[in-house]
């Protein structure tokens, strides 16, 4: 069973057909040819499929394409202000070395972008929490957090804090479970 879907995708109105049982992730990757959003766990744990739907980030593997009908969708392909230019967050990711294999990065960017929209001055804890739904097995978490922080504070060119020649990364003390 198919249905016609209308939505705004990265700022452009789109109309297309989807299988009713397909997810938004399926539609983006297979029907719309936008492969920037990635497929990994398919159970809403890894965040590789994160997109923005109606102004909130979601795991697109857990959203039916049909549910996005009439909605507004932003994917990683929609983050750049224009072709050939990068957003401050994208630039910060590159400058802070937050990209290794890159497979989790589209999702991390969508989550990072969301943090920047929700907080004017996110703390490290806000950022940690906001990125908690995005797994990175290369584990460049510190660099990703720093990139979001740098973009938040417009400090994309600031040097990483160095202690002598060692690299020191600090996270806030953990809030211990009660």
């Amino acid at each position: 069973m198919t249905m016609r879907i209308n939505l705004t995708l990265n700022g452009r109105p789109r109309t297309f057909s989807v299988q009713e049982h397909h997810t938004l992730l399926d539609a983006l990757r297979d029907d719309l040819g936008l492969t920037g959003t990635k497929e990994c766990c398919l159970v809403g744990e890894c965040g590789a499929c994160t997109v923005r739907l109606n102004d909130r980030i979601v795991d697109s593997c857990l959203v039916l394409a049909a549910e996005a009908d009439g909605g507004d969708v932003v994917t990683v392909e929609g983050l750049a202000p224009e072709p050939g230019r990068l957003s401050p967050l994208q630039s910060a990711f590159l400058e802070k070395g937050a990209v290794q294999c890159g497979f989790c990065i589209p999702g991390q960017l969508m989550a990072g972008d969301d943090i920047l929209r929700r907080y004017e001055h996110p703390t490290r804890h806000d950022i940690e929490e906001g990125l908690a739904g995005n797994l990175c097995r290369c584990a460049c978490y510190y660099q990703i957090v720093e990139a979001v922080e740098a973009a938040a504070h417009g400090r994309a060119h600031e040097e990483t804090q160095l202690v002598e020649s060692a690299v020191v990364r600090e996270m806030p003390p953990h809030v211990v479970d009660q």
Binding site: Q19, E20, G44, G47, I57, D59, V63, L64, Q178
Partner: protein
């Protein structure tokens, strides 16, 4: 996943009619964070999925009435854990909602859905039990109310009848100062399914309410009027699964005590500050 038809009723009556027409062949889709997983692993194979998110009465809303706080079926965990009334009067609920999954999950998962799925590990269930929540259930018969404690039967099973859906949760606004807290045990700090969930509330009158989950087929709630709550008696009802991957029965039972101690301490501290 197996193909199904997607329908999107625009009114509550339409939704109820669809659910009655298809019975167990239909599933309600709200947040989808539970349903989609089950559709993919085929633990559920409905022929129709009924998306209730376009029904105006069910649109996300948290409304304070005279004596009740009413949370509609479309209200997400993100809405819940950022609502000022909930943060003020029902902090344990906000705490529970804030640890469910990730931002991405919380933006979709609904508070009502966390109850209707009837997972014993549902994080918000113990808090709603402690707060004495009621579910508003709508069917062909009209509307009825069910105390949450009477709603859960066992894992995946509630007292909802075929053709019904839950439209709202009602929580009695506290008439006297109370202190409450939520806590849980997980395998890592990052988001996880809980191996024990626990909520506690204490009142100036010396009353205690405590609920726990994930140590038996359904979350349980207990209350005592005054004095030291008989925790050991309350814990005796725990039936942790011997086959669970997440934690052993021995650990879960021990953690019940640790969590109760900690949650009560926090609840008491909050009461003192209130």
């Amino acid at each position: 996943m197996r193909a199904f038809a997607y329908v999107r009723p625009g009114t509550l009556d339409e939704a109820v009619a669809l659910l009655n027409e298809y019975g167990s062949d239909a599933r309600v889709l709200a947040g989808g964070t539970d349903l989609i997983i089950r559709l993919r692993d085929r633990t559920l194979t409905p022929s129709v999925v009924v998306d209730i998110k376009r029904i105006p009465e069910l649109a996300p809303s948290i409304e304070r009435g005279d004596r009740l706080l009413r949370i509609s079926a479309g209200t997400t965990m993100t809405d819940v854990c950022s609502d000022s009334i909930i943060l003020e009067s029902f902090p344990a609920l906000a705490e529970a909602a804030s640890v469910i999954g990730s931002v991405q999950i919380r933006n979709r998962a609904t508070l009502v859905g966390n109850q209707t799925n009837a997972s014993p590990a549902a994080d918000t269930a113990p808090t709603l039990l402690v707060y004495g929540a009621t579910l508003v259930v709508v069917g062909l018969h009209g509307e009825r109310r069910v105390a949450l404690d009477d709603f859960f039967v066992r894992s995946g099973v509630t007292t909802m009848q075929p053709g019904e859906l839950v439209t709202a949760i009602e929580i009695p606004l506290p008439s006297a100062p109370q202190g409450s807290a939520f806590t849980r045990r997980t395998r890592r700090r990052g988001h996880d399914l809980a191996s024990v969930t626990l909520a506690a509330a204490v009142g100036r009158d010396g009353s205690t309410r405590l609920a726990y989950g994930s140590v038996g087929p359904r979350p349980l709630v207990f209350s005592s009027d005054r004095g030291e709550p008989p925790l050991e008696t309350w814990f005796a009802s725990a039936r942790p699964s011997p086959t669970s991957m997440r934690a052993s029965p021995e650990y879960r039972t021990a953690m019940l005590r640790v969590l109760a101690h900690r949650a009560l301490a926090t609840a008491r501290a909050r009461l003192a500050a209130a």
